[in-house]
């Protein structure tokens, strides 16, 4: 048993920033992560960090762009916090030594990004995330924060109360990947989930193999609602064979998209007559796939991204990393030929429902970063807004968990305030996965003091591991690829009712199969077979909630395109989708979007670029 004031789960950008903030606020902090911190996927972010740093820019403009980009599904208190605090956070990173790209006068450089009214994306070449991750890990080392690396957190230790709002999180149960030991981590003040993306729900993704949405799934099973799960960002420029990301920075610097007929289709086919390649990501992704579907794609699969005209000097200065990626993973020389690109899953706008301080409906449980939904991105995230989200909300969650008084939250969590039950009838039953769920969700033995809750959870986890190792059954890899395939085929950029329903059926089958899952590697030493088996459960839970949200939302907003519903329906759908896990039965409900900001209300306008 390990005990700390604050336990941070995950060691990417949000986790590291949360740990630093909690430690600065006086807490004894530990990070528990299934990867060593420098292996986190924040390191793969390329483009940059939006921050209104210049006199000619303002946080208000940044907030306006973000609300518009979100298709008015962002919550203003969270969006404004993001835009107000990111300049200070970027300067903080610079003071920690982050090697930003520089202007002639020595200030950090900024460049244009899609959907921004000012070139406010600060960056370090095309490796901004790598530099940010390492800079923050250096600060964690400097501060001597305890890091338990290569520990996979299996579940949360939450009290068993009827109403999620009455539950308390006392810690986490984790599995030491190196030794096979299962251990409890008691958090006296709070647990912060910072487990990042869930791209492995799909099979063509820019996300790392480790991005299996563990934090989202375990919060869901403990009773925290998942918010706006249907909003998945597909990045318009990923390499066709692997899903490796080609930064929006390429288009920011002037890169051009061409179809097989050599047309600059963003303009020539009228997808975005003003902004062209720099329209927001949902617009460009749909344009590319429309070109392919109408027979103007290359090899019926992709389009071309050309940066040759930028010249070798500028490419090497600002986009050097892109040359290496295109060469190593696609065999294309960006200096002499256009690069093949197509849309790929990139980012989950939705996730664990939190308020603007990272608090969830369960006491002592926080979430920050991509796994959380505050919500700042709404229906579509602007490029360059993920990295400031990590630092701003990581810091806020860290400080709050450490006990700092941050005032009253404007965003409510759980069924507090106005909410509305969904009247959607699902054709397909959704449900349990087999294996044991936390007491809070399955109505198991009641324990209220932290110690016993955690102990009970540890016992359950040990039983689960023993069971998986001992029995004979199906391999997780087969089930995982079934999920990934149906999601990629049917819950992608373009969505239609029948195929979404079909997917729920496929997922139901995968759940049945998962009841027989077993680990064939009997070893307690570095058993990745076991870890991947546990992750597959998380992927299943998330895929189901995501598909339910996509079926229920009968409109076209941001990244969510529906064949049967080709308009944004503000009268009915200016609201968040929430899915709660009640005794293994997902329940769908809604709450209104908050459009009132500090000094203004963001009136929905039609979104054109």
């Amino acid at each position: 048993m390990h005990e700390h004031d604050v336990i941070v789960v995950g060691a990417g950008g949000a986790g590291l920033r949360a740990a630093i903030a909690a430690q600065e606020a006086g807490a004894d902090v530990a990070i528990v992560s299934k990867l060593h911190p420098v292996r986190s996927h924040t390191g793969a972010a390329e483009g940059g960090i939006n921050a209104a740093l210049r006199d000619a820019d303002s946080w208000q403009d940044h907030a306006y762009d973000t609300m518009k980009g979100s298709d008015y599904l962002g919550d203003a208190p969270a969006v404004e916090a993001l835009c107000q605090e990111s300049p200070e956070e970027v300067i903080q990173l610079e003071h920690w030594g982050m090697p930003f790209s520089r202007e002639e006068d020595g200030r950090v450089s900024q460049r244009p990004f899609g959907g921004l009214s000012f070139p406010r994306t600060t960056y370090a070449g095309a490796e901004t995330g790598h530099q940010m991750l390492h800079t923050m890990y250096e600060q964690v080392v400097k501060r001597g924060v305890t890091v338990y690396d290569e520990w996979h957190v299996m579940d949360l230790a939450v009290t068993d109360e009827e109403d999620p709002a009455d539950r308390t999180c006392h810690g986490v149960v984790a599995y030491d990947i190196q030794s096979g030991e299962v251990s409890g981590f008691r958090a006296d003040n709070g647990v912060i989930l910072a487990t990042g993306g869930m791209g492995q729900v799909f099979d063509h993704t820019t996300n790392a193999v480790a991005n299996t949405g563990d934090g989202v799934a375990m919060a869901y099973r403990a009773g925290v609602p998942m918010e706006d799960m249907e909003f998945i960002q597909f990045h318009p420029t990923t390499l066709p064979s692997t899903g490796v990301l080609i930064s929006e920075g390429v288009r920011g610097e002037g890169g051009i998209l061409y179809n097989s007929e050599g047309e600059r289709f963003m303009f020539e086919h009228g997808y975005a007559n003003n902004d062209g390649e720099l329209a927001s990501r949902d617009v460009v992704s749909r344009a590319e796939l429309t070109e392919v579907n109408e027979g103007r794609g290359i090899e019926d699969e992709y389009v071309h991204l050309d940066m040759r005209h930028l010249g070798e000097e500028r490419i090497l200065d600002r986009l050097e990393n892109i040359l290496h990626l295109a060469e190593d993973f696609e065999g294309a020389d960006g200096l002499t030929e256009p690069m093949p690109v197509k849309p790929g899953q990139h980012y989950a706008m939705g996730g664990i429902e939190t308020n603007e301080f990272g608090e969830t409906v369960i006491g002592g449980l926080y979430a920050a970063g991509e796994c959380a939904c505050a919500s700042v991105h709404g229906a579509n995230r602007l490029g360059g807004n993920a990295l400031p989200e990590l630092i701003v909300f990581g810091k806020r969650a860290g400080r709050h968990a450490a006990g700092e008084d941050m005032g009253e939250a404007e965003i409510t969590t759980g069924k507090d305030g106005e909410w509305e039950a969904a009247d959607y009838e699902f054709e397909v039953e959704v449900g349990d996965t087999g294996g044991r769920d936390p007491a809070a969700a399955d109505g198991g033995a009641v324990a209220t003091d932290g110690e016993s809750v955690l102990e009970a959870e540890v016992d359950r986890a040990k039983d689960r591991v023993d069971e998986l190792l001992a029995r004979k059954g199906r391999n997780h890899a087969e089930i995982r690829s079934q999920v990934q395939e149906t999601m990629t085929d049917n819950v992608n950029v373009f969505r239609e009712e029948g195929r979404l329903e079909e997917t729920l059926g496929d997922l139901r089958e995968a759940r049945e199969a998962y009841k027989d899952v077993a680990v064939s590697d009997p070893s307690r030493t570095f058993n990745t077979d076991l870890i991947h088996t546990m992750e597959t459960r998380n992927i299943l839970d998330i895929a189901e909630a995501l598909t339910m949200g996509a079926l229920a939302r009968k409109e076209f907003r941001g990244a969510h395109w529906r064949k049967e519903h080709q308009e944004r329906k503000d009268d009915e759908w200016l609201k968040h989708t929430l899915v709660s896990w009640n005794d293994g039965e997902p329940e769908l409900w809604y709450k209104p979007t908050i459009l009132e900001g500090e000094n203004k209300t963001y009136e929905p306008k039609s979104r054109s670029y």
Partner: protein, 296 residues
């Protein structure tokens, strides 16, 4: 070049609690180990047959070792025949083998785009990132082994603790007290200075350089190329003050610091991020000499 044979563990590394000991779980696991061994033998046979019939496969010889599993305690190589697809990397081939033939095949990997640094391995006698090593560039059969000069935990997974300790030994964090006056004002850094440190900041901590270094192999306390490069990253950054640079030079000048480097360039050759490591070590040696001369 031979792979270091892992130490046999003196006692079982199983860490179940009392409750598990003597439970049926143990028996079941023992039986499962036997079953796993049989299953593996059967699969290997099948694969060999399949490979003989199909020319479009590649042959992969992979190092196997597990201190806990009977039949894997003696290190050995397993052969996998993987259907070749265009653009396939060593990591793709390993994942295919794991997902289709033997789910106990163990290796670290995550981003599969050369930035997380977790899949550095010894491929055909050289330190490589499996994810960015194309199969077509390699001679068959492809030999995949764990990084040399590190303790093997299981299959291709090595203990990285020592590497991390060496990284931490150089105080790997920015230190300065000279902040600008304005509240929202960054420190200025010239483009030239950023260019100077740029390559050094690209290190992804994969450990390939350390594994390739003869000196590090013979002197366990040698800071090694990655840690010295990390020191370079800060010592050459104009935003850190002179007094701190002094402290950094002292760290890298210690007995097991820069002067151990014999300029063999092996680290520079294997670095997957093309960092001129040897050059950086030499530059720090020059800085150290200049620094010492000041006192004479």
């Amino acid at each position: 070049m031979s792979t270091q044979i892992p130490k046999q563990t003196e006692e079982s590394t199983e860490t179940e609690t009392e409750a598990d000991v003597a439970s049926k779980g143990d028996e079941r696991r023992a039986e499962k180990r036997r079953r796993a061994a049989e299953e593996r033998a059967r699969r290997q046979e099948e694969e060999a047959e399949k490979a003989a019939a199909d020319e479009d496969t590649i042959e992969l010889k992979v190092f196997r070792y597990d201190p806990e599993v009977e039949g894997k305690q003696e290190p050995r190589f397993d052969t996998f025949h993987v259907p070749f697809t265009k653009g396939m990397t060593v990591l793709d081939a390993l994942m295919y083998s794991r997902d289709n033939y033997d789910s106990s095949l163990t290796f670290r990997h995550s981003c599969r785009q050369a930035v997380c640094g977790s899949d550095a391995m010894f491929v055909n006698g050289g330190q490589k990132l499996a994810c960015k090593t194309q199969i077509v560039d390699l001679e068959e059969p492809i030999r995949v082994e764990p990084l040399p000069h590190a303790e093997v935990q299981k299959d291709l997974v090595v203990d990285m603790e020592h590497f991390y300790d060496q990284m931490e030994a150089v105080e790997p964090y920015f230190q300065t007290n000279e902040y600008p006056d304005g509240e929202l004002e960054e420190q200025r850094q010239t483009r030239e200075n950023r260019e100077k440190v740029k390559m050094s900041t690209r290190c992804i901590w994969c450990g390939a350089c350390m594994s390739s270094c003869n000196i590090a192999a013979g002197d366990n306390e040698y800071l090694g190329p990655a840690a010295i490069n990390k020191a370079y990253r800060f010592a050459m950054d104009e935003r850190e003050g002179e007094d701190i640079k002094q402290k950094r030079l002292e760290i890298i000048e210690q007995e097991h610091g820069v002067w151990r480097c014999q300029t063999q360039f092996s680290c520079t050759e294997v670095c997957p991020k093309d960092i001129p490591l040897t050059e950086h070590i030499q530059e720090l040696k020059r800085e150290a000499v200049k620094n010492n001369l000041k006192f004479w």
